[in-house]
Chain length 260, copies 2
DNA sequence: GCCTAGGTCCCGTCA
DNA sequence: TGACGGGGCCTAGGC
């Protein structure tokens, strides 16, 4: 694959290469001194500094500082990138509609630009998601409660879709909410909402059970569960149950040629 | 500022330059053909493809494809980057503890590398946050209800902190939940949790009001509010109330030197 | 360190 | 298209 890279280009050179890169569908990285302004769902302004700007062919724009996983400013996919030279500065503007948002990056100097055709697989199979937990529960419903029988997943209620819905050993409805990680009060509120919604559907007086399936719960969540008469079932994360040593095996001790 | 850039470097050259960049505290962008493996809170594997790898001096690692604002794989700040040549491939590994996580990027070929000292302001003042909405409410409490008197913000309850707590014209407690954007059932659940918690604290029978302050609510959220006896007050987002045309004014019609 | 909730959350999925 | 909830969410603020 070929890369186009410019070292300390003039604004005109940068402009030209950005145009070419957009036309090719390349992904572009730009290092330089810039200010950033954003206006849309919120608004922000960022003073001068040396930063990394990444522009993707799908309309994504990312402004990164030297810290943090989250870009300091950005524009989501679907935006439109345009570049121009104004007032002696290179301006890269990315706009989108619905909601209407504008990102404005103004470079006083561009120190480096690289354009490259990024291709290949984009999605990863993530193991250990809530979907995996659901499969595990459906495979072994007794994990939820002895005699529990699942009847539906994503069952709709007035309060939203229930992860797993079924009946207990007595035939009473049970709402199951699944979480892949330790949960706090919000998850209890979610489960309580679903239970209330099902109770409203049922004939008066029918008891409706609620079970929160998660690796663990915070103290406050436990209190709220007790107050609401709901249950918690601890189920370890699936990824922990597998022999997760594959990555390690590739890393033999005694590395040569190692830095960092 | 100076940039070091390598065009189609050998693995040894890449290794050397990565070591130097890490030592200098530079931010690095690498374009090349790679596979990615991740193991930690979840696990994933990404087949061969041309991608962008960004390495920051704070330990952040980002693997980007040509689509999406979210990196296809990453490592959060605080991780440790190491590079090595193994089996004819350049391996960049980023690890962290608590939780224990490993990101493994293996390059069959590096097409471009650039290292640069990213510096300057990192944080932006975002206007239009929930904090701004709170200030607006405290400034003009009648927006919540005629005669509403705020008494505390972030008041603690058994169910978590209440955004704004006060009393209505009759002296009865009122719980206010603020949202900067249109809300769904989850926000209603949150408000209901807080109201229930305050009711538990109060002498039996004391009515406790609940008000959701948000630009708008979904139909389902409105139903749930009604069922819970809670109120909604529509307050437009603050950013919309300002003359949000600053960015536009800088963009005079009839751009010269515009591409894209 | 954990807990709690916000976020320009992003993102997929489904009605 | 909007709505709804998951996420390796990330991040800030308390305790």
């Amino acid at each position: 694959m070929s890369v186009v890279s410019l070292h300390e280009p003039s604004h005109r050179e940068t402009l030209w290469e950005l145009e070419a890169a957009f036309a090719r569908g390349d992904t572009v990285s730009v290092f330089g001194e810039c200010t950033v302004e954003y206006d849309g769902r919120a608004a922000s302004s960022l003073g001068p500094g040396a930063r990394l700007l990444v522009l993707k062919p799908d309309g994504t724009a990312l402004v990164h500082t030297d810290e943090g996983r989250t870009p300091v400013n950005w524009q989501p996919p679907g935006s439109e990138h345009r570049a121009a030279v104004r007032d002696g500065r290179l301006r890269v503007r990315s706009t989108r509609t619905n909601p209407s948002e504008t990102l404005n990056v103004r470079f006083s100097a561009v120190d480096h630009l690289a354009a490259y055709a990024v291709t290949g697989g984009r999605s990863v199979d993530v193991v250990g998601s809530e979907a995996d937990l659901k499969a595990r529960i459906l495979e072994e419903p007794s994990l939820v409660a002895d005699g529990f029988e699942p009847q539906a997943t994503e069952r709709e209620t007035d309060a939203g879709p229930v992860d797993v819905f079924g009946v207990d050993a007595d035939g009473h409805p049970v709402v199951v909410e699944l979480k892949r990680r330790r949960v706090g009060p919000d998850a209890v509120g979610q489960l309580a909402r679903y239970v209330s919604a099902v109770e409203r559907e049922e004939p008066d007086g029918t008891p409706v059970g609620g079970v929160l399936v998660a690796p663990s719960v915070t103290d406050r969540a436990a209190e709220l569960l007790a107050e609401e008469g709901l249950d918690h079932v601890a189920v370890d994360r699936l990824v922990a149950e597998t022999d997760g040593t594959e990555l390690e095996e590739t890393d033999v001790v005694g590395d040569d040629d190692t830095v960092g």
